[in-house]
């Protein structure tokens, strides 16, 4: 796989990651609590910036850890069976996103364990310091691990085939693109956009976001499957 193709796969995987909504929900709720508690605009910006940095750091750490783990087991040449398992698992995640991602209720409730959702909701209420917001950013990414594991796994498998310097570039690209949705919310809030408007948009477009996340993952799996399994099999014939 050439470097541009590898980076394109990583970018697509990161876009799929960006379409997941747990961090966006937590950021919206954190902003609502901060504005509702009459904290200053500077304080609000500090908290949401720390949150975005926390989410970014956890994403980079998870991807780096996944890559290191896979590299230590398989080296730079990943066996075809591992690619096949990753593709199968990701296709399963894509279908479960279509079926289960949002709860069939009002609002934007997600199919994550309820105690995790409650923990995050309680934490947003008690977050007052930038360090707490940073920790909340870390936790919100961890809370969605069941879904983000698919794009992370495929990206990690692609990353370990790259030269060292390009691995760093890949991690950077993935982290920045995966934060796009949070950055958009950050910009909207810092420009004084109403939270109810943001939440209304999210609620009315939740089916679309759910479809896009699942479909994006299917496209990614198809591309990787053809590139890694089919091309390899044809090459052997």
């Amino acid at each position: 796989m050439s470097i541009p193709v590898s980076l394109a796969i990583i970018a697509l995987a990161a876009l799929i990651h960006a379409s997941f909504q747990l961090s966006v929900s937590v950021l919206t709720l954190l902003s609502a609590h901060t504005i509702g508690a009459k904290r200053s605009r500077n304080k609000l910006l500090r908290l949401i910036t720390s949150f975005v940095f926390g989410a970014g750091l956890m994403t980079a750490l998870l991807l780096s850890f996944g890559s290191l783990f896979l590299l230590s087991i398989f080296g730079a040449n990943t066996p075809q069976i591992v690619w096949a398992i990753a593709c199968g698992m990701s296709a399963g995640v894509a279908i479960s996103i279509w079926l289960f991602y949002y709860r069939r209720e009002k609002g934007t409730m997600l199919w994550i364990p309820r105690n995790v959702a409650k923990y995050l909701t309680d934490r947003t209420q008690s977050t007052k310091l930038s360090a707490e917001a940073f920790g909340l950013g870390l936790s919100s990414i961890t809370g969605e691990i069941l879904f983000i594991i698919a794009p992370l796994l495929i990206s990690a498998l692609v990353l370990i085939q790259l030269p060292s310097l390009w691995q760093l570039v890949g991690i950077g690209i993935y982290t920045i693109i995966s934060l796009l949705s949070l950055i958009i919310i950050w910009v909207s809030i810092s420009q004084g956009c109403s939270l109810s408007r943001i939440q209304k948009w999210r609620e009315s477009n939740k089916s679309f976001l759910q479809f896009v996340a699942g479909a994006g993952l299917i496209v990614l799996v198809f591309f990787v499957y053809v590139n890694e399994i089919v091309v390899f099999a044809i090459g052997k014939v």
Partner: protein, 94 residues
């Protein structure tokens, strides 16, 4: 005269509490402020909604916290639909 009404929280999973007007007031005030309502208007709205909820509670010795939220959101919608939307969404965002 203070209102003594038992509030069942989280479908009975948490300890029952007496109705606390201040708690309701603070939550409605926060919802109003979250949508950039001026302080004075937010305080008046929160007071009006708390009064309406208190009247609704008078003949009910025991209600759930979910009922309180629904009723408060209904009254809040009359005064500030945008804040009511955010108030309703609070428990169904994550």
């Amino acid at each position: 005269m203070s209102l003594v009404v038992n509030i069942i929280k989280d479908n009975g999973q948490r300890r029952t509490e007496h109705f606390d007007r201040k708690k309701l007031y603070d939550s409605i005030l926060a919802a109003c402020l979250s949508v950039y309502t001026p302080d004075g208007q937010a305080e008046t709205t929160a007071d009006t909604v708390c009064d309406a909820v208190a009247v609704w509670l008078q003949k009910r010795p025991e209600v759930t916290s979910h009922d309180i939220r629904l009723v408060a959101a209904k009254y809040l919608k009359n005064h500030h639909p945008e804040a009511a939307y955010l108030y309703e969404q609070h428990h169904i965002t994550i």
